[in-house]
């Protein structure tokens, strides 16, 4: 164990100077390091490739805003409940400070954005999680927005499209977060009773309380390549059960192979697929 730790820290320090050299004198956002292959990618080019690494195909994470731009008809998105924010029900240590910090970093009031939009001129209800806000974790606000989106979709009889990602239920709201699993899923059950289709798109990472509630019961599930999806992430599972997982465990492709998702689509294929689906699901 100690030698492993040493190696890891040695790797870190060996890399730092290179990174500093690369970064010196350039604006922060000019270069982005690929999470998949560690290549430094020129951010202008990365924009054009929809944040997919041209070298290894890794799908870098998108902000909610980027995701919405990618999916819906240009300018069609009307956000609802923009300012909905948590009231910190447990007065949990440092939670208020964390919320303020993430709010500043992301410009979002919490980890979920929802509203109305059109895809291929078909009116839909759209919800997108914001991973940058506390790891896309689900507290009261995400729960409430998912519920409102599902209820609105049922009332308007418009398909619901949810881009699901995030680390799970948010610890800082304790049992209140756990209850969001129940209420969001109950809202999806009602949407099903109203016979309105619900399409989920899984983006990296899509885990725990989000995966084990409203996400995996969608009518149609599209996952992005390489996205980590599951009840627990591979590293957590390896530690908890002291086992070594084969590469590719708990990825989108793993779940496709086991019949748990309908398709794995590269990022630029998702919107065309949604347009086709909207044309069929009238």
């Amino acid at each position: 164990m100690p030698s492993k730790a040493k190696k890891a820290s040695a790797r870190k320090t060996a890399k730092a100077p290179l990174r500093e050299r690369v970064m010196k004198g350039v604006p922060d956002d000019l270069w982005v390091k690929c999470t998949g292959c560690s290549t430094m990618l020129y951010s202008k080019e990365l924009e054009q490739s929809l944040k997919v690494c041209q070298k290894c195909g890794y799908h870098l994470r998108l902000s909610a805003e980027e995701r919405i731009r990618l999916l819906v008809d240009e300018g069609s998105f009307q956000e609802r409940d923009t300012d909905l924010t948590t009231q910190d029900p447990l007065s949990f240590p440092s939670y208020k400070k964390d919320i303020a910090r993430y709010r500043k970093q992301t410009g979002c009031a919490d980890s979920m954005v929802w509203g109305e939009a059109t895809i291929g001129e078909r009116a839909i209800i759209l919800g997108v999680s914001e991973f940058g806000f506390m790891g896309g974790s689900m507290g009261s606000v995400m729960g409430e927005k998912v519920v409102r989106a599902a209820e609105e979709a049922a009332i308007k009889r418009q398909p619901l499209v949810l881009v699901c990602s995030g680390g799970g239920a948010r610890m800082h709201e304790g049992i209140i977060s756990l209850m969001q699993m129940a209420r969001t899923t109950a809202a999806m059950a009602r949407l099903a009773d109203a016979k309105v289709p619900y399409i989920a798109i899984f983006a990296d990472p899509m885990l725990a309380g989000i995966a084990a509630s409203f996400a995996f019961i969608a009518d149609i599930i599209i996952a992005e390549p390489g996205a980590i999806v599951g009840f627990a992430g591979p590293r957590v599972v390896e530690q908890a059960y002291r086992i070594k997982l084969p590469p590719g465990s708990m990825t989108a492709e793993f779940h496709l192979a086991h019949g748990m998702v309908d398709m794995v689509l590269a990022r630029r294929e998702i919107r065309p697929m949604l347009v086709r689906l909207m044309n069929i699901l009238r």
Binding site: L90, E144, G174, A212, M250
Partner: protein, 320 residues
């Protein structure tokens, strides 16, 4: 006979003294019964005192107590008869979940629940109460049977967490939990939930969506084990030994979750915890179940479902 928890240390010492005195006086043929009775009284007072100011962490330990009654203990004490069913008709049978039907006095009911094992062998066989997808699907099969026949459903919740091994992922542990939540939210028969020990996050709530949610006094209900919470969050210096603080911050005890509006009713436990008097605990559970079912069975199904939806619809803390 009884395993003592750290916060029960004064009680353990007193017990030792009493036992020692009993042995000594018996060996010497002396009669010190009045003295012993006084010590017993003192012990009861002390128990009352200690249990009147338990911390959330103390409750975590009680909820995980190896002698705590488990689902099948209550099933056999509460129901006149119970027939267990097995398997999800898809893959296999999960011993971490029990399901079946029985009689609550004269009334047919469906019962589901997590089941922990008592000795090491049974604990392993039951996977420490961590359910796999086929466990949740077996429970769902039983609940759908209850819906079909018009029998109420009673769920006993007691799990550290759902199983997250790769085999469980392969068979859709997430889907099985989500599916149970969706189905339980629309199940057209009353659903009563009793959290009897550990209400461990997603694994627990997969059997805990119902019309009336009860918790035994010393059980806990949490989004994450407090030790894991302490390890993850810098607010606790990422230090597992600060689990007791995390337990307090998470407000996971029965009374606290009731204050938060998550749980409808807390059932008092016998002095010293349910494991000190399982029969007394079982009769409290039985009486309460009968009373609550009498109320719920009067509602028509549409009203029942509307209330169930709104009950969970309300739980959240947000504003602008």
């Amino acid at each position: 006979m009884n395993r003592w928890l750290p916060f029960e240390e004064p009680l353990r010492e007193l017990e030792e003294q009493i036992v020692e005195l009993e042995r000594y006086t018996a060996a010497k043929g002396m009669n010190r019964s009045r003295e012993i009775a006084a010590l017993r009284t003192r012990q009861e007072e002390l128990t009352r005192e200690i249990f009147s100011r338990l911390s959330p962490w103390d409750n975590v330990q009680l909820a995980r107590h190896p002698e705590r009654p488990y689902a099948l203990d209550y099933v056999s004490a509460v129901l006149a008869d119970f027939v267990e069913i097995h398997g999800d008709r898809r893959f296999g049978d999960d011993p971490a979940v029990i399901a079946g039907m029985g009689l609550l006095e004269e009334r047919p009911v469906v019962v589901v629940g997590h089941q922990k094992g008592r000795d090491l062998k049974e604990r392993q066989a039951r996977n420490f109460g961590s359910a796999r997808p086929e466990g949740y699907r077996k429970a769902l099969r039983a609940m759908k049977l209850g819906e079909k026949l018009g029998y109420p459903v009673i769920s006993f919740v007691d799990t550290p967490a759902a199983d997250s091994r790769p085999e469980s992922e392969e068979r859709g542990i997430c889907e099985s939990i989500g599916r149970n939540l969706a189905e339980m939210s629309t199940l057209r028969t009353p659903v009563l939930v009793v959290i009897i020990g550990e209400g461990g996050s997603g694994g627990a709530i997969a059997l805990a969506l119902g019309d009336w949610i009860m918790m035994l006094e010393h059980s806990v209900y949490s989004v994450i084990p407090p030790e894991s919470c302490a390890v993850i969050l810098s607010a606790f210096d990422r230090d597992a030994s600060r689990g007791p603080e995390a337990a307090a911050a998470l407000r996971l005890s029965a009374r606290q979750t009731q204050e938060l509006g998550v749980v409808d009713e807390v059932l008092d436990e016998p002095l010293g915890g349910a494991h000190r008097n399982p029969d007394a605990m079982a009769s409290i559970i039985k009486e309460t179940l009968i009373e609550r079912l009498d109320g719920l069975c009067q509602l028509d199904t549409e009203e029942l479902l509307q209330r169930r939806y709104e009950k969970f619809r309300r739980i959240g803390s947000f504003g602008t």
